[in-house]
Structures are given as C-alpha cells and as structure tokens.
C-alpha cells in the first residue's frame, strides 16, 4: 500500500471513529505537537488539549464526503494545532511573534471557523446537559445518545413500563430544550 492509500484508509477509519485508526494517528503525530506547544510557552496539558481539538477537526472533516486531503495528515494536523495554539496564546496575552514554525503548513482558516461554531454548539449543549440533573441526564443520554430502546430504559431506570419512561423522557427533553435556548438568548 502506498503512503497516500494508507492515509486514506486511516481517514476512513477515523470517520467511523475506529479506535485503531485513532490510535495510529495519535501515535504518529502526538509527540510532534507536544514539542511544538512546549517549545512555545505551553505545558504538556496544553499540548494534549490542542492535539485532541485538532483530532476533532480532522474527524469532522473525515466524515465530510466532499473533503479531500491535499497534504499529509501530519501537515494538516500540524497546521490546525499551530493555528489553535496561536489563538490560545493570544487569549492568554502571551502572544509572541516568535512562534516557531519549521514545519510546512497549509491554509486552514475555513476549518477554524467551522470548528469554532461547532465547539460553541457543543459547549452550549454540554452546559444545558449539566444543568438538568439526574435522572434526566442519564435518561436523555440513554435514549438520544446511546440510542437504547424505551423498553431497556424502562427496565434500567426502574420505570413500570415503556410508556412511563417515555413520558419522563419527554419531560426531561422539554427542560433541556428550555435550558438550551435560554443560553442562546443570553449569548
């Protein structure tokens, strides 16, 4: 298999969040990003954050059928991380023009914009979720995120039947929705 084919395989795996593919990409790129962040005013924890954020960007891209990678995964990940880290430094007012960039980079501004929006949506939903409390959180998680059946949920959560569980689920969903849209109005 040629390198490009291998990389395409990796991206395909990533798109279905195949653990093996994720691990390979992680293994091959992590230390590069770690030394980049640490050499530029960051800590190992910062590096982990930035790298994982870049993985999310790559993941979303890999699911997009119109997306084709014009460079190596390595270059792409590096470009994203570099951009993310510059932004983080700017927020912390630690910005220096001397951010070391020996590697080749590609243009990733569009991705950054999409990523920011997605990240914002995620945070809003996450905040709403953290506010609804139990058992609502687990109930919604089981139905909408883990896609469990109403029968299973009723059994797991100790509801007398699936209909009861369903009513409870809708009540929770309405609460979540109110919390979610309330944040939109405030933001």
């Amino acid at each position: 298999m040629s390198t490009t084919e291998q990389e395409l395989q990796l991206l395909k795996g990533l798109a279905i969040s195949d653990k093996q593919a994720i691990e390979t990409i992680y293994r091959e790129n992590y230390s590069m990003i770690q030394s980049f962040v640490i050499n530029n005013n960051g800590s190992a924890d910062d590096a982990r954050d930035i790298f994982q954020e870049a993985m999310v960007v790559l993941y979303e891209k890999s699911k997009d059928t119109t997306f084709s990678l014009n460079c190596q995964i390595k270059t792409y990940v590096y470009s994203i991380c570099r951009r993310l880290w510059l932004k983080r430094l700017q927020q912390l007012n630690k910005y220096s023009t001397q951010v070391e960039s020996l590697e080749e980079t590609v243009f990733v501004e569009d991705e950054m914009e999409e990523h920011e929006k997605r990240d914002n949506d995620f945070t809003l939903m996450d905040q709403a979720m953290s506010k609804i409390g139990e058992p609502c959180k687990s109930l919604l998680d089981a139905y909408y995120l883990q896609k469990k059946s109403m029968q299973d949920i009723a059994a797991n959560f100790g509801y007398t039947n699936a209909d009861n569980a369903k009513t409870q689920k809708y009540k929770c969903l309405i609460r979540l929705k109110k919390l979610f849209f309330a944040q939109y109005k405030n933001a």
Partner: protein
C-alpha cells in the same frame, strides 16, 4: 401534558413514523398554524444539535481512552532535553561571574526571607487563624472507636491524638503535602485515608515561609497509588476561578466549593491567594482543585473576623518546595509530580470521587 403530546407528534413526524394519512393531516396543520410550524423547525434544529453533541461526545471519550492507553505505554511522555554541549561551554566561560552573582543573590534572598519570617503571616493580621483542629476528648474517643472497629491488618494508633488537619498525595509512593504550621504543632504523625486505614508518616521537609511541608508515609502496609488524578498548576489562578476542596474539619471527609477572590493572601502575602469558601479548623492542608482538575492551592488559614475569607498557599510553590528538598537530599530525587490529568471534562461528582482517594487526614499528638 399537551406539550408532551405535541413534542411526541413532532418527533414522530420528523422520524417518518407517521402513516400517510396522519402525515397529510399534520402537514396541513403545519401550513395553517404558524406556531406548530415554528415548533417543528425549532425541534428539528434542537434534535440535530443533540445528535451532533452525542456523536462528538462519544468521539471525545474514545480520544481520552486512546490517550490514557498511550500515556500508559509512555508514548505521550515528554522527551528529555538533549544537546547540553552549548550550555556547558557557556557555564565554563562564565563560571566565575555566575559564582559572584550567585553569592550576592544568595545573600539578598537570605535577607528577604528573614524579613518575611518576621513580618509575614500571623504577625500582620490578628485575625489570621490557622486551620488545624485541636481535637477535644470526645473526638479522640471517636477516633479510638473507629480504629478499634476495623481491627484488620491496618495500623491502630495507640498514641494520643491532639490535632487534626488535611493533606494530599503529590506522589503515589507516599509523599503528602500539608501546611508547615500543621506539622509544627504535631509529633507522632499518622495519616488516614478515606477507607479508614492508618499509616505512620514522617515529616521530611518544612518551609515556614511558604507554609508548606512534605510528609512521607513510612509504613509497610501502605500500597503505592499509581496515577494520581490531578495535576499541579504551574502559574497563577485567575480571579473568580471556581474550585472545590476536600478536608477534615470533622472526622469525616467534607466537600466545599468557592472561588478565588484575590491574588494575594493576608496583608498582600504574594505566596497565597484569598478564597471565598467555607473552611474550619481541620481544613488546613486541603487541596484546592479548579474545574480542569488542576491543583491551584492548599488551604492554610482563615480570617476569624470575616465570613468565608480563607487563605490558601499557591500550588506552584510546591514545585519550589520539592526542588529544594531534592537539592538537600539526593534520596528524594525520585519524587515524581503528577503529570496526567484524569479529572478534566468530568463532572464535579466524578472529580470528587477520584480525589477522595488521595486526600488524607493528618493527625498527631501535640508537640509541646
């Protein structure tokens, strides 16, 4: 109830579970009723958001798992520095001037630290009250009762217990951080974990200026804990940063939460923060953990006059403390600070559960 039926109908419509007839009827309703139409749009937007959220959350979870696995394998470890040749050269060239500079600097720092001992902490503020608890007789009986109850392999201290405070591990092999004023008051020190096991511990380092100290568990019954869940923040906490703390103002672990209210401690003490949290005698030495699971401080004292005004030593000083210890005694070279943060992105309850295992009650008999 109406709202529930409506939402259920909308969900059935969106997921295509409706019969043709029902569908036609509902679409008619949508056309004629703007409110229903808006609800459909809103709800489909919301469900899509929820769906995306779920997928992303699962993916992030997988990422964490992969990261944990690779950390275990050492793939994500920070490589050691290489290429010392240049530094050595410079060192040889400037050895003399550095030595002169260092001796002057050493003199100044001795002087200032002397001043700090005299003027800092208690002396400036008469209401500065350290949070070690003097245990009364009833409490002592309680401790005895407790220890007699679990007559397993664990150690049962027969000695007198006069003071109680808090400490926490910074190295799973048994190094515990607590306050200097805690250890200054105690001898025959024991630490107790949340399972009620007692271990004897030895005071190995005290820094009165930073009000920090290191204990080492010296007990064969103690089993090393691998992977501490938190990391230590290397720079200052931000104003308003929220945190939680765990400690032993009672004979049982107690949770508290609050926020960083000033970047300096009592009388502008720059080695400490002022926090707003409820703390009581016994909380001294308790870890202050921010929402990212980073240790930002160590509870030391409170203002006895003002409500909720608590002081905490800055966590970054721990690095200084450990460096000093390593310099003084080579056998402590192997102390390893926690590097991997398991608390990040967990909710509070989960964070507390993980932290409970590494927070210890520190007890001892009076020193005088």
């Amino acid at each position: 109830m109406d709202e529930i039926i409506l939402i259920e109908t909308v969900e059935r419509y969106l997921s295509g579970e409706m019969t043709t007839q029902e569908r036609a009827f509902f679409e008619d309703l949508r056309k004629n009723n703007a409110e229903v139409d808006q609800l459909v749009v809103e709800h489909s937007y919301f469900l899509e958001g929820l769906h995306k959220y779920g997928i992303l959350k699962t993916f992030k979870h997988t990422l964490q798992e992969v990261d944990a696995k690779l950390t275990e394998e050492g793939v994500t470890a920070i490589p050691a520095l290489t290429g010392k040749a240049k530094v050595v050269k410079l060192w040889q060239k400037y050895k003399r001037s550095i030595a002169v500079a260092a001796s002057i600097a050493g003199f100044i720092s001795l002087l200032t630290s002397g001043l700090m001992v005299t003027y800092s902490k208690k002396s400036g503020n008469e209401y500065y009250s350290q949070l070690v608890e003097k245990i009364n007789v009833t409490n002592q009986e309680l401790i005895k009762l407790n220890t007699n109850r679990n007559n397993g392999a664990t150690f049962k201290p027969e000695v007198k217990v006069d003071y109680r405070a808090t400490g926490f591990l910074i190295d799973g092999s048994g190094y515990i951080i607590t306050n200097a004023h805690v250890l200054n008051k105690m001898k025959n020190i024991y630490v107790e974990n949340n399972k009620g096991d007692y271990f004897s511990a030895e005071n190995i380092y005290i820094d009165n200026v930073l009000d920090l100290a290191i204990l080492k568990i010296e007990d064969t019954a103690y089993k090393t804990i691998t992977n501490l869940p938190f990391t230590i923040k290397n720079n200052n906490a931000d104003l308003g940063e929220e945190f939680f703390t765990l400690g032993f103002p009672r004979n049982e672990i107690v949770y508290g939460e609050g926020y960083v209210s000033a970047k300096s401690g009592s009388d502008g003490d720059s080695t400490a923060y002022q926090l707003t949290v409820s703390a009581n005698p016994g909380n001294s030495g308790g870890p202050v953990i921010n929402r990212n699971g980073e240790l930002i401080g160590i509870i030391t004292a409170k203002d006895s006059k003002a409500d909720g005004v608590v002081y905490a030593a800055k966590a970054k000083n721990i690095f200084m403390l450990v460096d000093q210890l390593k310099k003084e005694d080579a056998k402590y070279q192997q102390i390893k600070m926690p590097v991997h943060n398991d608390l990040k992105k967990l909710d509070r309850v989960q964070q507390v559960k993980k932290m409970e295992d590494v927070v210890f009650m520190v007890v001892g008999a009076t020193n005088r």
